[in-house]
């Protein structure tokens, strides 16, 4: 073919050595710039955390130096103690943990039972009911909040732990997530268990839960993080000293327009709130990332 000849000519004109050198230069530069870009991004991502930590360890005069220091001249651990008392973090931690643990446990029980029913049991109207529940996921939470605010007021639940735990106990999304996981377990196992006379609940406990454990762990962690980070609802319904939760308390403690803000102490408080989250992240990274990639819902 004529064109084939043409191609050979082109290739012969090329100086192979030059081309291969050019290739190497291109690859090296490509790699260099990719890493440079990624490291700059990593720096930008990490900088606020770095700034939080070092600011929390500075004295107020050092913090205010016009030329910033990137390492505290004198490490002020005392800021943390001060933050702990100033923001009343002890009570806030306690409240948040109580609410987080209780609501997570109750929520898990309900979610597992509900997911099990939708995945395994048969009854009339199951599919319509499930579709109806899924539809509610589309609606922004603020819509519920308005009426719930009134409902809990009428129930007389204002400023109690109950009001923080009960209203958002059932997450349709988690039910959906777990049901999908349960559905993958073949029905034969369930039928075999029935033949052996295993009760539903025993089967759920012995087979379904162990098999779906990764999803359940994801749900647990996300739910706990949700309690830790929830702001609006707790602020609306339990904004008293005895029941205030951490996020709300943190914002509160440093918004009071009482003269000059002590930034290092504020940063220490922020660090104290953030560190538990990091610890959870370090230990459960896999579950968090897996859960998040399937949900896209924060907390």
């Amino acid at each position: 073919m004529a064109v084939k000849k043409n191609r050979e000519v082109i290739m012969h004109e090329r100086d192979i050595e030059k081309t291969s050198q050019l290739q190497i230069v291109k690859t090296v530069f490509g790699t260099f710039f990719r890493y440079l870009f990624l490291l700059i991004v990593a720096f930008v991502v990490l900088f606020p955390f770095y700034w939080m930590i070092i600011s929390s360890l500075k004295s107020l005069p050092e913090y205010k130096l016009n030329v910033p220091t990137f390492w505290p001249q004198e490490v002020m651990w005392g800021n943390y103690a001060e933050a702990f008392t100033a923001a009343n973090l002890g009570t806030l931690f306690k409240n948040t943990i109580i609410v987080g643990v209780v609501s997570t446990i109750l929520s898990l029980v309900i979610t597992i039972l509900t997911a099990f029913v939708f995945a395994r049991l048969e009854f009339k109207g199951k599919n319509i009911l499930f579709a109806g529940l899924l539809a509610t996921m589309m609606i922004p939470g603020e819509l519920f909040t308005i009426t719930n605010y009134e409902v809990v007021t009428r129930f007389g639940w204002m400023n109690t732990y109950t009001v923080l735990i009960v209203p958002f106990l059932v997450s349709v999304f988690y039910v959906y997530l777990l049901r999908q996981n349960f559905m993958q377990i073949p029905n034969e196992l369930y039928l075999a268990a029935k033949v052996d006379g295993t009760s539903d609940l025993k089967y759920l406990w012995k087979v379904m839960i162990p098999l779906a454990l990764p999803t359940i762990i994801s749900i647990t962690i996300l739910k706990m993080m949700g309690a830790w980070n929830s702001y609006m609802w707790p602020r609306l319904v339990a904004n008293d000293e005895a029941h205030r939760l951490i996020t709300n308390g943190l914002r509160n403690a440093f918004t009071a327009a009482s003269g000059e803000t002590n930034f290092p102490v504020q940063m220490a408080a922020v660090a104290l709130v953030s560190i538990p989250l990091f610890l959870v992240f370090i230990f459960f990274r896999k579950y968090i990332m897996k859960g998040v990639s399937r949900s896209g819902i924060k907390g």
């Binding site: 309900i110 509610t136 009426t147 702001y231 609006m232 609306l236 943190l250 953030s274 990639s293």
Partner: protein, 312 residues
């Protein structure tokens, strides 16, 4: 298997969830819609037995309220700015991350860190970074500490800017919020896009390599089209999240939603909560319905656009 014993058991297991959902999810949907049409509905008065008239007054009041326009403008502006910026950045990061060997997992973990933060707490850190201690609007400006961001910009000869303090300009406030929200939104988008990239068949890239396709062209002609379902997903969730923006602004500015509590950066959700706390439940409901309508519309538009652009 389908016997009567099972049926009552199914309902028994379902009952806790159904009761809670009925009270705290289903009823609120209906009731909130009802409240939106009860003129000047006020919870306290309602508890005391007051009866409200049916009408559209709540909607009229919401729309007529001057602050509402600000809320709408801020919300839309934040969406329009942060969603494209964070999506494009996340895409570039994900593509770069996918193409390297060493350090990939490490960097991926670092990039995910902002996700596991408390948006109020870290908002306060951003506030500290942009904060100017002193009185910057005085003549001449009295600056004790310019803040690390101003210090950094100073290296390039930029005069200190009043980012978030009293008297700061709107564009500066908006810039801070965009930076913070993008920073906060990146992890999720990177995670999703990287997941998508990793599921793309490597042979497409081998084929492109054999054909001598340039990097830019691979990105434009192969990666982005093949990733389009994921991109559509992060854009849609980004818009939904953007329209509900609230707590990140509280983190930076406090509940005053702006420098000196001037509500300059108030958002739709902010407005809903303020109405709620001000015992204007009717108005809050109307605003929530409007928000829902907007989100629904934007999502539908997005889906429509992606139908044409997304290659499955």
């Amino acid at each position: 298997m389908v016997d009567s014993k099972h049926k009552w058991k199914a309902w028994l297991y379902l009952s806790p969830a159904l009761v809670l959902l009925a009270i705290f999810t289903i009823y609120p949907i209906i009731n909130t819609i009802r409240l939106a049409f009860l003129e000047d509905y006020n919870m306290m008065a309602a508890i005391n037995g007051k009866v409200f008239e049916f009408g559209f007054k709540n909607f009229e009041k919401v729309v007529a309220y001057r602050g509402f326009t600000t809320c709408l403008k801020n919300t839309v502006l934040l969406c329009v700015l942060t969603v494209p910026i964070s999506t494009i950045l996340a895409l570039l990061i994900a593509v770069a991350l996918n193409s390297i060997g060493p350090l990939r997992r490490f960097l991926q973990t670092i990039y995910f860190l902002p996700y596991v933060t408390n948006s109020i707490a870290i908002g306060m850190v951003f506030a500290a970074m942009f904060n100017v201690v002193g009185n910057i609007s005085a003549e001449p400006p009295l600056i004790v500490t310019a803040g690390i961001i101003n210090n950094f910009l100073g290296l390039f000869g930029v005069e200190p800017i009043n980012w978030i303090n009293v008297g700061s300009p709107y564009w500066a406030n908006m810039t801070v919020m965009v930076v913070y929200i993008v920073w906060n939104a990146l992890p999720f988008k990177i995670l999703i896009l990287l997941g998508g990239l990793q599921s793309v068949n490597k042979q497409y890239y081998d084929a492109a390599k054999v054909d001598g396709t340039s990097r830019a062209r691979v990105l434009r002609k192969i990666t982005i089209p093949l990733l389009s379902p994921m991109i559509a997903y992060v854009v849609i969730t980004g818009f939904i999240g953007g329209f509900k923006e609230y707590s990140s602004i509280v983190g930076v500015f406090g509940e005053g939603m702006g420098p000196g509590d001037n509500l300059a950066l108030n958002t739709m959700v902010g407005y809903i909560y303020q109405s709620l706390e001000g015992q204007h439940q009717g108005r809050a409901s109307a605003a929530a319905l409007i928000l829902f309508a907007i989100i629904l519309a934007v999502t539908l538009i997005n889906l429509q656009v992606s139908k044409k652009r997304v290659h499955y």
